[in-house]
Amino acid sequence: MSANLTALAYLIASVLFIMALRGLSSPETSRSGNVYGMIGMAIAVITTVINPEVVSYTWILTAMVIGGGIGAIIARRIAMTDMPQLVAAFHSLVGLAAVLVAAAAFYNPAAYGIADADGMLKLASRIEMGIGVVVGAITFSGSIIAFGKLQGIVTGNPITFPGQHAVNALMGAVIVVLVVLFAIGPESEWFWGMTLLAFALGFLLIIPIGGADMPVIVSMLNSYSGWAAAGIGFTLENTALIITGALVGSSGAILSYIMCKAMNRSFISVLLGGFGGDTAVSATRSDKPVKAGSADDAAFIMKNASSVIIVPGYGMAVAQAQHTVREMGDLLKGHGVKVTYAIHPVAGRMPGHMNVLLAEANVSYDEVFELEEINSDFSNTDVAFVIGANDVTNPAAHEPGSPIAGMPILDVDRARTCLFVKRSLSPGYAGIDNELFYADNTMMLFADAKKMVEDIVKAL
């Protein structure tokens, strides 16, 4: 295959990748979009394999079968509630693959046609490789920590120590120096120095960030994995990698932006970390009276309502309550109640987390609404049923000076009755008390989310 044909095949693969993303504009087109993505990947792989430089297939096939088999098994078995950690784990693999490919090209630049007259890596390629390998390494170790936090192996609380930001800044500066040194003279000391330091930096960047900020972090690492791929694409002079890296990089960046906006926090403040977690639990709790109810009360109220909006949050995912919630919704519909679902952009641990869980539980996607679509409906809704969400409903967001001031919230307090499924009155991630618990029209349902909904289902 000539170099031109190869380049054309890569172009076709890139176009198919764009169509894969484009398909996601609606659930109907998304499935064919995913197929375009698979075809694009097959074209890219086959084109490369039939290249004259690739002559030995044993290792390639073995690695593909092992890796592909593991991937296929994971994809089939993973619980939908575990998607955030799966995505984080996948990001780490892209990061590590980028580092390994860079290392392979560093030791054998001639194979990629990027060697200079002395058989050394070209100057331009060295700069691009330096950037690609550093971003790849940060993606790898950062994603490992994000995975650990989401999986519960590493504490979800922010881990901070004095001088943390200074240490990070210093490491960043040293990495820049090493990239420059590597560009001047491509010694393996510089290569591994910058790579190892970038591994350490990725680790340190993510440990101070708390669990509920993970939607931003997972999106950010998604973006980084794209930039790493693009960096390696420049090094290897491969357009498919450059285009795909740019697509993924901008996709992750947009998602991070949407998530930050939904919390009214700046990207920098999320990155600096230290928000929420244990330190905040000491927040003063008010002694105001709380109205608590039973499952029977809740069932009675909802059965006699004409409309119910269900507001799910991370707690629903933790309790694996999505199927029971759907069952409750169906029973209510049987009583002639209009049931809809309202989703806050940062509900859960990654963008779109709640939508996937509801889809898994067979909730029709035209009953599920985003914040801005449904927020005005609360004022003429009988019951808001909040399950496993807290901060995203806290009216404190309307008060200047509160830690979540300005964050767009779901106005569940406007509903005639607000049912709040929660284990206790403990504050949410932001560490502030929720006024809503003490409101006259709020009834607290103290129990495990799944247990409570099961009891309501029985009572219905």
């Binding site: 504009s25 995913n34 089939r76 998607m83 996948f90 390994l100």
Partner: protein
């Protein structure tokens, strides 16, 4: 002066890169919020096109450090490619409308 030949090929690649960022920007803004999780898993799968770099490294017959690194990278990227596309497919199959 022959303008077309005096431009460094890097500039062409940079142009492709910048334009692809714009394409990505507009395409991703049109993705519905309900599908943001599948968006992440599919971008994950397609960014593993980095496997093409690994394939070239693992291609030669002679044993070398590059070949080993390439083979490991193929394995990692393959986990992502198969895992990413299949889990996306599994998720997308769940998005249904009322019958």
């Amino acid at each position: 002066m022959d303008l077309a030949n005096s431009i460094d090929p890097f500039i062409y690649r940079l142009a492709i890169f910048v334009l692809a960022i714009f394409v990505g920007y507009y395409v991703v803004w049109s993705v519905t919020a309900a599908l943001h999780t599948p968006l992440m898993s599919v971008t994950n799968a397609i960014s593993s096109v980095i496997i093409v770099g690994a394939l070239i490294a693992a291609g030669p017959v002679e044993m070398s450090l590059s070949k080993v690194l390439g083979a490991v990278a193929i394995g990692l990227a393959a986990v992502n490619i198969f895992g990413g596309f299949l889990v996306t497919q599994r998720m997308l199959a769940m998005y249904k409308k009322k019958q």
